[in-house]
Symmetry: C2
Subunit: 643 residues, 2 copies
Amino acid sequence: MQNQTRIVIENVLPQLDGGIYPIKRIVNQIVVVTADVFSDGHDVIECCVKFKHQDDKKWQEVRMVPKVNDEWEATFKVEKQGCYTYFVEGWVDYALNWQHGTERKIQDNQYVKSELLEGAEYVSAIKDLANASEKEYLETVANYFVNESDYDKAIQEALSPKLHKIFKKYPILFLENKSLELEVYVDREKALFSTWYEFFPRSASQEEGKHGTFKDCEKLLPRVARMGFDTLYFPPIHPIGEVNRKGKNNATNAEYGDVGSPWGIGSQYGGHKSIHPELGTIDDFKSLVKTAKKLGIEVAMDYALQAAPDHPYVKDFPQWFKWRPDGTVQYAENPPKKYQDIQPIYFESSDWKNLWQELLDVALYWIEECDIKIFRVDNPHTKPFFFWGWLISEIKKKHPDVLFLAEAFTRPKIMNELAKQGFSQSYTYFTWRNTKSELIEYVTELTQSEQKEFYRPNFWPNTPDINPLALQNGNESIHLQKYFLAATLSSSVGIYGPVFEYQISAPMAPGKEEYLDSEKYEFVKWDWKKQNKITTLITRINSIRKIQISLQQTNNIVFCETNNDQVLAYYKFDDENKNKTFMVVSLNAFHTIQATVKIPNELLIELPLKITDLITDNKYIWNKEFNFVELSPDLPFHLFNIE
Amino acid sequence: MQNQTRIVIENVLPQLDGGIYPIKRIVNQIVVVTADVFSDGHDVIECCVKFKHQDDKKWQEVRMVPKVNDEWEATFKVEKQGCYTYFVEGWVDYALNWQHGTERKIQDNQYVKSELLEGAEYVSAIKDLANASEKEYLETVANYFVNESDYDKAIQEALSPKLHKIFKKYPILFLENKSLELEVYVDREKALFSTWYEFFPRSASQEEGKHGTFKDCEKLLPRVARMGFDTLYFPPIHPIGEVNRKGKNNATNAEYGDVGSPWGIGSQYGGHKSIHPELGTIDDFKSLVKTAKKLGIEVAMDYALQAAPDHPYVKDFPQWFKWRPDGTVQYAENPPKKYQDIQPIYFESSDWKNLWQELLDVALYWIEECDIKIFRVDNPHTKPFFFWGWLISEIKKKHPDVLFLAEAFTRPKIMNELAKQGFSQSYTYFTWRNTKSELIEYVTELTQSEQKEFYRPNFWPNTPDINPLALQNGNESIHLQKYFLAATLSSSVGIYGPVFEYQISAPMAPGKEEYLDSEKYEFVKWDWKKQNKITTLITRINSIRKIQISLQQTNNIVFCETNNDQVLAYYKFDDENKNKTFMVVSLNAFHTIQATVKIPNELLIELPLKITDLITDNKYIWNKEFNFVELSPDLPFHLFNIE
């Protein structure tokens, strides 16, 4: 292919899979773009990043600056929700090149009359772009350049920073080149900074033996708000299948009165657009959502694409399920295991376009009818990736505020792919990262690898599906430690509420990570008034997160050396370096331990550091590179603000 | 975008810059393709690499095998010159998935009648693709599957490896997905394995004070062949400019009788398609090329795109040069330096298409008229990259045998870009890599990074432009060492002949890497009959390279531990592991030194090793992991063949 440009632009970063997928940001975050830009020969080149919001007509521009080895860099800020496009443009800057070469010749005492004539041409070329005062200056300069009698003044102006600045301001693009266009999708702030609380609405009643309702839930909202949570996530609230319903502790057959698993969706009372009658009415739910909103809480719904055998879809749209040669329907299975209370959606169906549309309509229903803006998606990794890409982008077109949390605890590349397809947040392996080295390795991967551009972690110490070994029979200290780690390592954090607060952790069987008497199959009466050290410190940590903006993001983190394998220390800062926090955590839940903590290099120049432990309000001055800490199981962490 | 496939294919490697540039191979090399391939859920998936030569109509296929973490791999061989396309295709294999699930259920003692009916459908679907005996078998199996009375036989066949093999052989593609198509350009063997000798034809005369001719050169061919060189490269052989001609030692003004620089091309006697009259005629040159060919030597021409002031182009095509506002032509310059014997081509010219065509015609002239198949391109990094991409691909379309060596000693990304644009071989920084760690680091970069896919290094210990500090005043041993390193680390190697053999290394000025009395500006009378230890060992090394195929490639190299910073050891092997060589080199040109060398892990299982030093024919048996070596400046290396 013939192309006369002399500029090569390669390796434009950030870039995912050749630009197929957008990177992600939230409003007012920055994008640091780097690229290899070079030309043949030794001429002066210039390059810039051009970027534009989807609703804008004009490109904005920011000039790149050279780093080492032909790599250039520029930074821009994304100020609006939605999709931005960006690309790199480069050109040989003949005017600047002329100035650079002429300067060297003048310094070498060469006679540059011919060069000045050439310079006059560059000056004239931009005269009409310049403002009035610049134009006047350029006309003067051009006159000097062409009049031999003004030679001395001419060579003075040829070298002037003023002329350089004007050349730089009005580049003459000639044979420029541009990179491919890349995209960054910008979400609202909550995509990055969120504090989740999960409970089962049917356990919301304060009366023993009574099925909870939305009205009961509404009464619990002030408590959730007081504890500093901004997102309240409920397991599915749709009618629960009655056919093949599961009994307590996942028994294959329910007994009379068993309430079943809320993930077995659909019954005579309706499907994914209906409310489970025992929870209340759609109006009760709307009222709950509205009250929550007033308290600063968003209700997150579960989006679980599967059907109980008595889901209306099975009769109305049999083509959306797989039928076996013997005429029976295909239950969910993971051979040799069978799950007869659940029928998977048959995404290979030839009627897939209608199926996709209906599934989209389900989400739109809750968004448009009940003002739902957050979905926690159940098992997204068992549905086609491109379905998610389509669904999420369709929803975002109309409702850019809507966020999706991917509930997938599976292989790393599959979890990454879901994030690339558009999930706003993702569950993580944090739940199983216990030692210092495991935690450092994992967080480093999330924040330093390509993942940082598209994978927004949400750290959950537990979920109804995971009663982690580390918490089983765990004491108060380990619960404090886990919540603190989750809430300060990651800007998004969540807990499966009462179970965590009250340290309930008996497993269904030794070595299994399932809860005994799990709320997945029965409802429970909790003492919703109870307060303890765990609830108190969760409240404290959550309130600190609201003020310390360095904790409202995940990627700006530096792990710090400590001389104790059970003491983890890390430093966080915001994009503009206005807020700095420094965390020290003991991973020993049983003994008081000491360590020497090294200040990160970034902070050494700021010694002595005035620091305040935001948990205790104790103030310290650290004036050395290495500092002593002692942490007891009673309060196994420091959360320092650095002045 | 709606797309029903469940398969994701990402990160297909090798892949350069999103597939814009082809990777490179020579005939009969292998391409190892890896990709991340996965589906939602837990179904069995399959994937393959499909590949096709540009002249073929049918795709060939090789099935991929899973490695760790959803990465798959397959290998194919490129057997013909030209361009191959390859891509990855993946699908959920429903038949294999059925077999996998059914097997688990049978092992769990479940009754699988319904599964067998489903299996019968998979069997029927491929019946017509199978050969006669397979078809008979499939019909039997299908009957078992549908007849309840054959249940025992049915479950036996359902699990059979035979059925598995047939399912695997005839996949039913449904909702498959494919990656983007990538390219590999396949050259003839010489692109990878070549041994270059450079001399100035005007120094070929055996008579003192006489300008050498092609006829003189022809007489030297047997010597070049005897020494084992297969590529003879001449600096430009075109008429040398008479205007502003350079004098001896790069003097600005030539004196009477000065022959000028052959890179100052063009005079009253013609330009790039002409022969410098003092060298002889076009027929002399053709005869030389023909005689060389008979001796197994290819003549490589210099392709230097620049003009002396009296080049015919300047008058005939003034638009191909840059004219200054004062009406004078733009000389080459690197301000404040000026090179008035040279005018650069003005690639920004609006007449660029005709210019490019003419430059292409120049190359085609020598290819088609004189059977030239190799060009050493002078300063390619001062001409536009996309020009080279176009020129090389245009030439390769008609003449796939033609090879290009990029003479660029410049910034790394620029050298890489030239290779990506199609240069078959490239000069390297080897010339300045002296210490053990420098050599290991550089060769590791060339052979382990992405560069291995497109950058074919040619190691030159010296060139007429570079009299490296390491060789200045260097003794015989350092010359032996440098040639040995170049010829065994890299499969392509070259020397600027007589100067190297006769250890001539006086610099033009202390600290400068220019030769004093450089042949670039004058001709020299060499004693072409002289033989010494350097010529003898070059001959020996070159003859070994012709037999040991592990030395005919560069990438398969493993550096081995030694306990001496001045002893470098490395192991090389061919793609099929048929030939293995092991090199040990002393980097000390003055003292005898010892070291313990560690056998690479790959060879430990083969202990004891029977090894033969191919330089001395000494035989050894190494039966330990660590082995003693002693090397003296007299013979500073071992070149072992491993039996």
